[in-house]
Amino acid sequence: MEEILKIVFDVVSFSCIMVLIVSGLAIIASLMGIFNFAHGEFVLLGAYVTFLFQAMGLPVGLGMVCAPLFVGMFGFLLEVSIIRRFYNATIVAMLATYAIGLIIRELTRGALSGRFWKVSEPIPGLFQIGDMSFSIWRGVIIIITIIVMYGCYYFLTKTLFGLKIRGAMENPSLARASGISTTRLYAFTFAFGAALAGLAGALMVPLYTLFADLGLRFLVMAFLSVMLGGVGTFEGPLLGSAMIGAMVPGFQWIREAPVIVDILSPIFSEVLVFIVAIIIVKFRPQGLIKRGRI
């Protein structure tokens, strides 16, 4: 029982990270029709900024605050200089974002000198509920995600700017005709999506090791969560990422069965997650939750 609760807690905190990543990805995709292949690298950048703060001896928490700002700024500059050219050629845009991702990834690889790094948790330690103890940092991640997601929801539904975004999502030309500058809107939204990815990267880096292919890994995971959960819903990716998050320790447990342990190396469980996810998608392409509202 205790074990299961602990796993559930871990899975929930993992899902929270995925939610931050996926919502950034989704808001860009649904507003501009561009699938951002560099999104994983934005996550990586967020993590890297946090690492830089630690390396310079500044508090890690401050790095986590600055990371989304920095990545958001970076996303804004990228949109203004490059992404903007591709709004009427979304497939080519995919290649362009892939190229951007490649550049960021390789630059970071150089900066990290190809090694694995550890970033410490800003609030270390455990907290107790009854006689079970949980990692404080994971709890903080869950709380921050809930606050940020609620903020996004409030922003999109209750503010004038959010209304403009929703309008532009529904009908861009009508929005332009009504005097809304979609150009500025797009730049802002891209920056916002990037900032969410940066935040996710900053928050999760203490739980993982920092290496250059981190972004790629999270891009793949985000893709699988969306496909598993169902495209175009809010709960879908949440459920999908929870499944992926649950599968990792699940397969780890299977792997420790006496016969299989000789055959399977630890990496298998991760690879198996990908394969199982793709096979589920194959037989249930609409995802677990069918497209309904939004």
């Binding site: 699938f35 490059i82 050219r85 497939i91 080519v92 995919m94 290649l95 362009a96 892939y98 190229a99 951007i100 490649l102 550049i103 390789e106 630059l107 690889r109 150089g110 790629l216 890994r217 891009l219 793949v220 893709f223 699988l224 496909m227 190396s265 630890p266 990496i267 298998f268 991760e270 690879v271 990908f274 394969i275 793709i278 096979i279 194959k282 392409p285 609409q286």
Partner: protein
């Protein structure tokens, strides 16, 4: 129809020049450079495989490296564990592995209940490439992060084919055959369907074509070509590692093709020769080495943004690259003439 200007074709000329150069190249190149050039020829197979998918049928794939690497690993395992290095076995096995793996992927990604979106296929293949790379780098049976070395030379009977002039011509013939087959494929009526698929998939669906089937077909064929490349690569380099089967090499396939020029089969070849030559000539510089991947990314970005036609775009017009498809029926041809008259 005998308009002289329209009949002047630059593309076949370009193909002939490259073919001519490749045929005579080993005669005046030293052994060292012949080996380098052989490697490029093998990488050309990879590039062609990507071009068939993206340039001709509009399937964005980051999986070509996977087929390439799988075939390479298959023949390397065969050489290491069984000691089988016969060329008449190695090449069919490479093609077979490439075909099977790509068919499996096509089945998973392309032949679904609903029509696959470009993004879905791109990310799906990316996922598999990434997963495969992780898998082989952590699986000690296949060498883990160190990869597999092949210690014996590829051989025919008891004759050993060392990397050199003979291997060069074998790779050259493999490339030529794949090139001609692909050329025949994309210039046939099937190629017309593929081009239509690239241009407007929905319309083709409405016309009653089974778009998914065609996609799976060309994807599998491309996989076979990549598999052939992978098998030759493993034996030529005497080594195959995780770097030869994951995202990295898949990205290279994309780069070769886009840099050389999408939409013609000769473009990817030019891309391979150009990029590999640059990489080889500058490989002595240390600062360059660490920044090469970054430069590659920048090249990709510049090509996509400013010159989507790639290098061949400077030489061959877009109209010529689209070209004609298959033979026109005599009847139809006559009909056309009559209306013209």
């Amino acid at each position: 129809m005998k308009d002289k200007k329209a009949n002047f074709k630059r593309l076949p000329l370009l193909e002939a020049i490259i073919l001519g150069f490749l045929v005579v190249a080993p005669l005046f190149l030293s052994d060292f450079y012949t080996v380098i050039l052989t490697r490029m020829l093998i990488l050309c197979l990879l590039a062609i495989s990507f071009e068939l998918c993206w340039g001709y049928s509009g399937i964005m794939t980051f999986g070509q490296g996977l087929f390439f690497g799988m075939a390479g690993y298959a023949v390397a395992l065969l050489a290491n564990k069984v000691g089988f290095v016969q060329i008449w076995g190695v090449i069919p096995i490479g093609i077979f592995v490439g075909t099977i793996v790509s068919f499996l992927l096509a089945w998973l990604l392309l032949l679904g209940k609903k029509a696959p979106e470009i993004i879905f296929v791109a990310l799906g293949t990316l996922t598999f490439s990434y997963a495969a790379e992780r898998l082989v780098s952590g699986w000690y049976y296949v060498g883990g992060g160190n990869g597999l070395s092949i210690f014996e030379f590829l051989s025919f009977g008891s004759y050993e084919i060392e990397p050199g002039v003979l291997f060069y011509y074998i790779a050259g013939i493999a490339l030529l055959v794949s090139y001609l087959l692909s050329r025949y494929l994309v210039r046939s009526q099937l190629g017309l369907v593929l081009a239509a698929m690239r241009q407007d998939e929905k319309r083709l669906l409405f016309l009653g074509y089974r778009v998914r089937g065609f996609k799976a077909l060309v994807f599998t064929f491309a996989g076979a070509v990549a598999g052939l490349g992978g098998a030759l690569y493993a034996h030529h380099e005497g080594f195959i590692g995780p770097n030869n089967m994951g995202i990295g090499i898949s990205t290279m396939a994309v780069l070769y093709t886009l840099f050389g020029g999408v939409g013609s089969l000769i473009g990817p070849l030019i891309g391979v020769f150009a990029l590999e030559t640059i990489s080889f000539t500058l490989s002595g510089v240390d600062a360059f080495k660490s920044f090469w991947p970054v430069i590659l990314g920048a090249i990709l970005l510049v090509v996509v943004t400013f010159k989507p036609d790639g290098l061949t775009g400077f030489i061959v017009s877009r109209r010529e690259r689209i070209g004609t498809f298959g033979r026109i029926d005599k009847k139809e041809k006559n009909g056309r003439k009559e209306t013209k008259d």
